[in-house]
Every structure is written in C-alpha cells, then in structure tokens.
C-alpha cells in the first residue's frame, strides 16, 4: 500500500464533515495543510458548525505536499456538503510557505519592480529556489516594511486545480500565520505606555525589528502572536493589524516550555519587545492521544492561549493514531 493510499485511508476514517440539518447554502471549509497533519473545520455564516472540527495525522515522512493534497481531496469527497456549496480556505504550514519581512524600497511603488524586489528578498534568505516561488506581499502603508510570503508555485497551482476538479470555490490560500492573525479576536485600541529608548534600541537591533520600536515610540499599542505548529514556533509582532516583525524557530513537543524562552531570547535581541505585555498563542499541533498525553506545563501569564481557528478536534484514540501512522 503506497503512502498516498495510506493517507487517503486515514482521512476516510475521519468522521464525515457535518452540516447542520436544514441549513443549506454556502459552507466554508477551513483547512490546515501540514506535512504530517490535516485539520479542518466547517463554517456556516462565519460560525463553526458543532462537531465539524477534525484533525488527522498523515503518514507522510518525506513531508511532500502531494500527500496532503490527496488527503484534502479525500476530505472534500467524503463531505456531506455538496462540493459546489463549499468555499475553501486553505492554510499552509510554515514548512511550505516561507516568510520574510522586506524593508521599504521605492521599487515597491511599481508592481513590476516590486515583484522583482520581493523575489530578491526571498532569494537572499532562502536561496535561488525562491526565484521560482509564487510570492504574495502585504499591502502596508508607504515607508513601512512588508511581509512577504513565498510558496512553491506547483503547490499553489495544485491546490487551485484540486478546487476546480471538485467544483469548489477556493477563496483563500495563505500561510497559517495569516489565518491566525485573521481569526484573532480584535485587540482593543489602547495606547501603550511610551517605552523610553525603544526607538534607539530598535535602531541598533537591525531592520526587521525597527517597526515595533517605532510603534512603541509613537505610543500606539502593539501586540504579538505566536503560532505553534508541529516542530516550529513562529512569533510575530502586530501593529495596526500589520505584521511588523517575524521570528521563527524549531521546537519540540514541549513547546509550552520553549515558547517563553524563545520570546525571552527575542526580547534580549530587541529590548523594545519588552513593552508588549500580551502574546496571543495559537496551537495548531495535532491533538495528542489521551492515553499518551501528559499534562502540559502552564504558560506564563503574558501568554494567552487562543482558540484554534480550525476548531477543537477530539483527541484521536491510540488505535486510530497507530493505524494512521
């Protein structure tokens, strides 16, 4: 039995994606695609349908996206909602879409020059393979750095082709960090206390960290977001809804211990981050088996665990997890 067949069988064992009885019309299937995980939740009218959140671990040691796409195809096929009524919102794991914060340049004023400039920024960090990526960038105001995300063009095209084959409407393909930011509860518009020396410290710490310093110096509230995926933590600072700094690093199963340390190390490199008092944490890791899971250590008070945008699936049983693996 091939890997792909194994993945499809794993997905087929998931409970069927439900729809509320008597509720017709458009449904939104929000999907998180990761090398070893497929999480999904069905939304109707912007609200999560009860019991529609599911998560499956995929037997995909190589981590190629082809297996995840076949799992998504199987998920759509076994859905109780007609494919034509499904709008797809696909979130990609950080393994498949790389992000960088590009400094402001006048090249961003022209669309053609901006594409070349942003591609160069990605290539400088991720090598020449980034020149074949499909890129997308945040539309920040003049003078502000831009968040750039690059993903394999074949992956994006395969996802579009899958949606077209199944008759779905694919509305969003974005990195998981953007999904987390989009679904995050709105922060109250408060004015943070002025941080003395924040701008100076930012100036000494490097380009990617200058924006939160400027925000703090202006007295505007900034907050942070940490997205925890299997094996990786991605932290970002947010100012007026825009990402102003990104930090990503690998992590193990005990991310609750590693996240405060990672934030502390980032704060040491950029002291202005100490002014941020609240860090929203979103855990996208697959639920552990109840038989194997240990009680996770508590997070420090400044870290607030937020709801998973892909719902809260039931933890798989040991047998199911074993078969999936």
């Amino acid at each position: 039995m091939s890997r792909i067949e194994s993945i499809i069988r794993t997905v087929m064992r998931m409970p069927r994606v439900a729809a509320l009885p008597g509720l017709g019309g458009a449904h939104t299937l929000r999907v998180y695609l990761a090398p070893q995980q497929l999480a999904s939740v069905m939304l109707h009218g912007g609200r999560e349908l009860h019991g529609s959140a599911h998560s499956a671990e995929l037997d995909n040691p190589g981590g190629h996206w082809q297996g995840a796409i076949e799992a998504l195809r199987a998920l759509i096929l076994q859905s109780r909602v007609a494919a034509a009524d499904i709008t797809l919102e696909i979130s990609l794991a950080s393994r498949w879409c790389q992000m960088v914060l590009a400094p402001w340049s006048d090249a961003l004023l022209s669309p053609a020059d901006a594409a070349r400039f942003l591609q160069t920024q990605l290539a400088a960090l991720y090598g020449d393979q980034a020149r074949s990526w499909q890129i997308v960038a945040d539309d920040t105001p003049y003078g502000s750095p831009r968040t750039v995300c690059g993903a394999d063009t074949l992956l994006i095209e395969a996802l579009k082709a899958l949606a077209a084959d199944q008759g779905c409407r694919c509305q969003i393909i974005e990195p998981a960090l953007a999904t987390a930011l989009r679904t995050l509860p709105r922060q109250p518009k408060t004015r943070a206390a002025f941080v003395p020396g924040a701008a100076d410290a930012a100036g000494a710490s490097g380009a990617p960290l200058q924006a939160p310093a400027r925000a703090a110096a202006r007295g505007l509230a900034a907050h942070a977001l940490a997205v925890v995926e299997s094996g990786r933590i991605t932290m970002a600072t947010i100012q007026s809804g825009h990402i102003t700094a990104i930090q990503s690093q690998p992590c193990g199963l005990t991310w609750q211990l590693e996240l405060p340390q990672a934030w502390q190390r980032w704060t040491l490199r950029a002291p202005e981050l100490a002014a941020i008092e609240s860090i929203a944490v979103i855990d996208l890791c697959p639920p552990r088996s109840t038989a194997l899971a240990l009680a996770p250590p508590p997070l420090p008070p400044r870290f607030h665990l937020q709801a998973n945008p892909f719902g809260a699936p039931q933890a798989p049983t040991k047998t199911a997890a074993g078969e999936a693996a």
């Binding site: 997308v136 960038a137 945040d138 579009k160 393909i173 974005e174 990195p175 953007a178």
Partner: protein, 185 residues
C-alpha cells in the same frame, strides 16, 4: 490587516469604501437632476422648432428618360446663355490691329471652350473663353508685333502662337498664322 492570500481578491466594497461611494453618488444626484431637467427643456424646444419650420415641398422623382431630357434642355439653355453673354463687340474691337502693324484677320472661332488646366482660376460666374484667330501678316515682324499687341490687352489672359507658315503661292510670301487667346471679363 495583513493579508497574504495567494488568490487575488477584489477589494471588498465595505466600510469606508462603501461610505465614500454613497457620498459620491449623493453628490451626483443634484447634477443628474439638473441634467435631466435641461435635457427635457432642450427636447421641448426642439419639438417647438420642428413645428414652426415650414414643410419642405417634395418634388416627385422623374423617370430616367424624362430626367435625361430635362438635363439636355438645361444644357442647351446654358449654352444659349453663354453665347448670349459673349462680349463679341468688345473682342472684335480689341482684335483690331493698330495701323503700324500690317495684319489682316482671316477667321475667328468663338466657340472654343476655355482651358480646364489649373491655371484657370476664374470663378464660374465670370464669363471666359478661348478664341482662335487666323490671320495674315506681311512679314514675321508684323506677326510678332501683333502677338505682343494682343498680349497687352487686358481682356486676354494669354495669347500664344499655334502655328505659322509662309504662303508660297503668293508673290510676296505673306505669313499665315494661327493664335489662340484665353479671354475673360
């Protein structure tokens, strides 16, 4: 809000964009009402103008044979009018050579059409035409003097020698020559 969507989406028409559109449309309402009122006034005036204008008499179309006959009649009348308008007396008086130029007029052809080249810048209403003159001179000098004399006359726009020859039959070998003169009034 940071949006990193690999599927381009149109800008949603919500929030301040919708409000701005509504304000723009509201600002255009008075202009639209004014334009409608002016358009109605213009159409009303045009209708009044149409009613006050006299109706044009429509002439029934003639059969092809009748039309051809009518054209021929018009052409004949135009020719007759042109003949009647020829300043014959003035032309003949002008053609008379002075006493010191020994030239005898032999023939005049008044039916020549005026030249159609680009140099003819006379208006259609101005009488004009060509005149062929046959004459006889005692010698070449008289012929040339007569040609120069005609060129000096204001009624002639141009006079040129068409041909000349000496008569071998006559005893004093006179010059026979033809001139063509473009005249206009």
């Amino acid at each position: 809000m940071t949006q990193l969507n690999f599927i381009p989406r149109p800008v949603p028409l919500t929030g301040w964009r919708l409000a701005l559109l509504a304000i723009g449309l509201l600002a255009l309402v008075p202009a639209a009402l004014s334009w409608i009122a002016r358009a109605q006034a213009v159409s009303h005036l045009e209708a009044q103008l149409t009613q006050t204008q006299p109706h044009r008499l429509t002439r029934p179309a003639l059969a092809p044979a009748q039309q051809k006959e009518l054209d021929q009649q018009v052409k004949a009348v135009a020719d007759a009018v042109r003949q009647l308008n020829l300043p014959i007396a003035r032309l003949i008086k002008t053609l008379q050579a002075p006493r010191d130029i020994h030239v005898a007029l032999l023939a005049l052809d008044l039916n020549s059409q005026p030249s159609q080249d680009g140099s003819d810048n006379t208006s259609p209403t101005t009488p004009a035409g060509a005149l062929k003159i046959a004459a006889e001179a005692e010698n070449a000098q008289d012929m040339i003097n007569y040609l120069a004399f005609l060129n000096q006359q204001p009624i002639f726009r141009s006079v040129y020698l068409v041909k000349h020859e000496t008569s071998a039959d006559a005893a004093d070998h006179p010059y026979h020559f033809q001139l063509e003169a473009q005249w206009r009034q």
